[in-house]
Amino acid sequence: MESKNLVEKLKHYGLSKNEYDYALKLLKKENLTDIEWALFSSLWSEHCSYKSSKTFLRKLYNTSDRIVSEEGENAGVVDLGEGERIAFKMESHNHPSFIEPFQGAATGVGGILRDIFTMGARPIALANYLCFGESGSNRLSELVSGVVSGISFYGNCVGVPNVTGKTKFHSSYNKNNLVNAFALGYYGKEDKIISSKIKIPGNLLVYVGAKTGRDGVHGASMASESFDKDSESKRPTIQIGDPFYEKCLIESCLEVMKSGLVEAVQDMGAAGLTSSSFEMSYGGGLGLELDLSKVPLRDQTLTPEEILLSESQERMLLTCKAENLDKIEMVFKKWGLDAVCVGHVRKEPEILLLWKGDTLCKIDPNLIVGKAPEYNHEFETKMFIENDQVESSTDLLGYFHSVHGASKEWVYDQYDQRVGASTLLDCSEQIGAVVLPESKRSVGIALGCRQKLMSLNPFFGGADAFLHPALALSSKGYEPWAVTDCLNFGNPLRPEVMGDFASSLKGLSLACESFKSPIISGNVSLFNETEGENICPTPSVGVVGLNTQKVLDDYEPVRSSFQNVGSEVYLLSCRDFIWSGAFLENIQGSGDLEFKKVNEFSKILIEIARSKKSSLLSSRVVGSMGLMGSLFKMSSKNIGFDLDVEIDDERLFSESLYEVVLEFKNSPDLDIPEDFGFVYLGQTKEGGELKYSESIIDVERLKKESKDSWNKKVGV
């Protein structure tokens, strides 16, 4: 009986027998209380503990003078000079978004925003990287419309512009869609970075924001499991978001932070009150006394265990000096929110949980957080097969009629891209960009990770997840400044999954290092597996770049489609690796990738983009369907293009790492090193016609068809 009971408990709390034995050994006890079960369950979940990925994460490139945040904070912060800094991070909300797409995606946005303003930065930009199953897969239209409207609902209401994103389709996501949300926050000269680490004994512990309900209990352990047939039954573990509350929380938190009223702040994310209190305490090396009976509740019947594990949204914990409590309460009251003292900081590094006068639990956070298990799973790396001949699809029309090439306007039209009135480049461009309030310089945001390249070669795929967006930024004059990653993979107990994880991280890290762009924050989402099927390795990456040019009233940014009639178009290339591209099932590749050379390529692009002399009007890093795909995307109903040079089909349609199409207002007089190709392609012309070899494409018509086929193929 006893052992059956234990097996059930282990299953319920998502712990292994070994982990249970290890926990008993740490606590020097014979068995665990209900509260201890709850604590270990959530804090040792993959989601909170990173137990399978930690050894790899430590190797990621993250040393740089630019980094001004401490380790173990909610997001990374980098210095931009002139007194300005930015905090940013990307985070997954995959499992909840598959169970309940609208709320899952909405709370994904809410969660990533809290990671940013918890640190004292005002959120000024959002972006998202979404992956869905192939056209015709089960629930596709429900998932796509649910996720997009969830992001739209939350981001628009909270008032942070969504400036860029990627929407990908691949059969490996049929039963495991991905929702990765990115947020960026800003610090002006006067703004301080707020830490989550408590440092002063005797300070009060204050709960602020929304009341606690039963939503999201066991969310963290749910997100650390593979899905089975009845994942539907997990719906009650999904949190519900309220962007209006979040907006008020942003304003009130930033107000108390700016007034210097708080010491440390931590948001309640995965595993709610448990992880926030334990992380604050462990990070600062001090203890906490937390009276759970003082926590504001939505439902008075909640048990202490549920209060600890609830993932109700829009809540924060902060610490402050006793004399500041009244002032803090007043600020929160002004914004219609509660601020309640629920305990205090203790000198002894122990967490004391109280419930109606009783001590529920007394535990050293180091035993749970610091001594959390760590695994070195077996891994098996894939061999890359080099092809002599790389075949590409030349079916341009087919591509732009498919879900991959279909216009994503339906998605981004639903996002407020301009709230904040500082959006320089919106979702219709290859990168997003916002103007920095004080210096009037601008930051660019670009996301990367291409499934097909990843499945061909995870090392190159991982590198490309950084390099492709980094070059998109460079071609608009933005120097890649720092990086965040969101590592979505399958079941880590499978050696081939861990092999892909290891290879792609190595590629990513080396590529970032060659650019001196540190990886400052990130998140890992494992167990993206349903009924034995694992997702394609998806380390999605957010790269943020800095453009030092001042955005004055008449400033014209470099755009992503042709701007003028009669301008000269060139192709600048560093074409060492060629692959068949995103539209063929059978992916082939040939060649090598030299990071140092790509970095040099990036520097040339930045110089061209910022130079007044050559006056670059638009640029586009060549992607799907090769050069022809890019020329089509750059053309419009008013400005077309005649390809003036003889180029064979293979060269026109294959993809490579890397090349960039550039449109110049005046004839460029550039000194390009011999290592790189620089060829004239032709002139832009009036009217929406794209001409190459013997073919003519009616740009407006194909763009319209491409827009319509989105609705047909996705079913929205």
């Binding site: 628009n156 209006f244 907006k247 996002y415």
Partner: protein, 221 residues
């Protein structure tokens, strides 16, 4: 001396800072915050702007809760006295909910939120809000932007020159393509598009500037 313009903030308003900047950057105008719970002296102000952006999370109906706040008592008194009031997006919704402007704003025809650049046509001829430009390009960003009035009300609006702006290519199903209206006295004006997001070339257009410059026009016109 600069004209003093009150920018009204409700809980959840999210274009407040953008509008404040747009007002303050207009030569001759000076922006001041007005908080939803507080009264203000209507004689201290030369104009008011109600910014856009999800007051009270659009709960109940967009603008419905904000319309019942303390500050709106004074906004109403200011408007009744003939003072110029500009409502943008959610500010438009608040003004219709308060009964200071005709009609109602309901869910977009396609039911989803739309962020897009649109072309507006200037319709009203003889008010302080009449634009110099015949057409202007300004972005919209709304979920409940479909303007609704009955056919007979539409006729009245037209006959009294209360149709301020129309869409060239109606994005949301608004009756009569209406993007902005005026009250009968022509001192209260509101539009769904966001002029504060069209203040310089890099934003995509400078056509938004004129909307704030209208607050400089003498209110007796």
């Amino acid at each position: 001396m600069s004209r003093k313009i009150g920018v009204v903030r409700f809980l959840g308003t999210n274009c407040d800072a953008d509008v404040y900047r747009a007002v303050d950057s207009t030569n001759g105008l000076e922006a001041h915050w007005l908080w939803y719970e507080d009264h203000f002296n209507i004689n201290d102000y030369d104009g008011l702007v109600l910014p856009g952006g999800f007051s009270y999370g659009d709960y109940l109906r967009s603008g419905a809760l904000a319309a019942k706040t303390t500050v709106m008592d004074d906004v109403e008194a200011f408007a009744k006295q003939g003072g110029p009031v500009l409502g943008i997006c959610n500010g438009f919704q608040v003004l219709t909910e308060r009964g200071l402007l005709p009609g109602a704003l309901v869910k977009n025809k396609e039911l989803s939120f739309i962020d897009r650049w649109v072309t507006l046509k200037s319709e009203s001829k003889n008010s302080l809000w009449s634009l110099n430009e015949k057409e202007c390009r300004i972005p919209i960003a709304h979920g409940d932007g479909c303007f609704y009035v009955t056919n007979s009300e539409l006729e009245t609006l037209r006959s009294k020159d209360q149709v301020w702006l129309t869409y060239k290519d109606n994005p949301n199903g608004s009756v009569g393509d209406i993007a902005g209206v005026l009250n009968e006295d022509k001192n209260v004006a509101a539009l769904m598009p966001h002029p504060e997001r069209a203040m310089s070339t890099w934003m995509g257009s400078q056509h938004g500037k004129e909307f704030f410059e209208k607050l400089l026009v003498n209110k007796d016109i």
